[in-house]
Symmetry: C2
Subunit: 175 residues, 2 copies
Amino acid sequence: MNTLDVIKARTSYRGKYKNTPVSRDDLTKIMEAGLAAPSGCNTQTTSLIAVDDPDVMARLRGVIEPEFKVSSPAMICVLTQYIKSYRDRCFSVHDYSAAIENMLLAIVDLGYESCWVEGQITDDDAIGRKMADILGVPQDYELICFLPVGVADEPTRFPKKKAFGERAWFNGFGG
Amino acid sequence: MNTLDVIKARTSYRGKYKNTPVSRDDLTKIMEAGLAAPSGCNTQTTSLIAVDDPDVMARLRGVIEPEFKVSSPAMICVLTQYIKSYRDRCFSVHDYSAAIENMLLAIVDLGYESCWVEGQITDDDAIGRKMADILGVPQDYELICFLPVGVADEPTRFPKKKAFGERAWFNGFGG
């Protein structure tokens, strides 16, 4: 699909998924898109784990629900390492956010839907750490987000957004 | 262009730009792509200012250089508001990073190049605040990044990245 069309078609899908499997080839393409994102001083702080094994999916669901309902047949787990990349600055959040956005676009491009699930697994109840333990993730990595991947079984919806002129201008604020 | 091709073709361009103008139509499409990015609980914390007026560009160059050489005929300035969107959490960095990645892809899709310039303008010398003052940006917004926009006058280069298998796996860390 055309890039600008995909950017506009992407939305946060929270409905049910069909159980149509997601191919390894597609999961690989999605992760390649994530790894192609820029990172502060090319520090490459983001790593990824695609999950498509039904047993592993079931174990992950066991710690994620009821916080978030997961009906997709696959997901991508996003890991970060907090590393300083520029003077005393750490750009890991920027790095993984750009990687996540690339993957969300690749997911839509390939005919699937997804949703950026982060706040729900990085709160005090530390669901992300429980997921990381299931996946054998070392302590110096944090699992901060997962992206369900699958074919939507319900219509997509778009949140109401402010008008262009309330958030974007030319040559000066409010211009 | 196809989404996955654009994702792979995007790179941080630091060479000279041609002085071929960037049309208002293209700058609008780039900003629309930025505003289409998701934001934590749809808080829409990111705002944008496209600059194509030669006088305004000259004044901005005056505060940016010599920290960063700007030869492009246009740029997009990225503003954020730090607003809590989920319990006590603020996702503004995530929000603007996703918006920036969308814009970088739109820029490449439309035949231009760019580079995510953030660390250089948000250090102690506060170049971002000087740029914001030129653009009349209120104090409750921070100008945290700019994206040069123009046609490349030199070849693009790609940084060396780790192999896929060092950063991406299936069903478990290192798997």
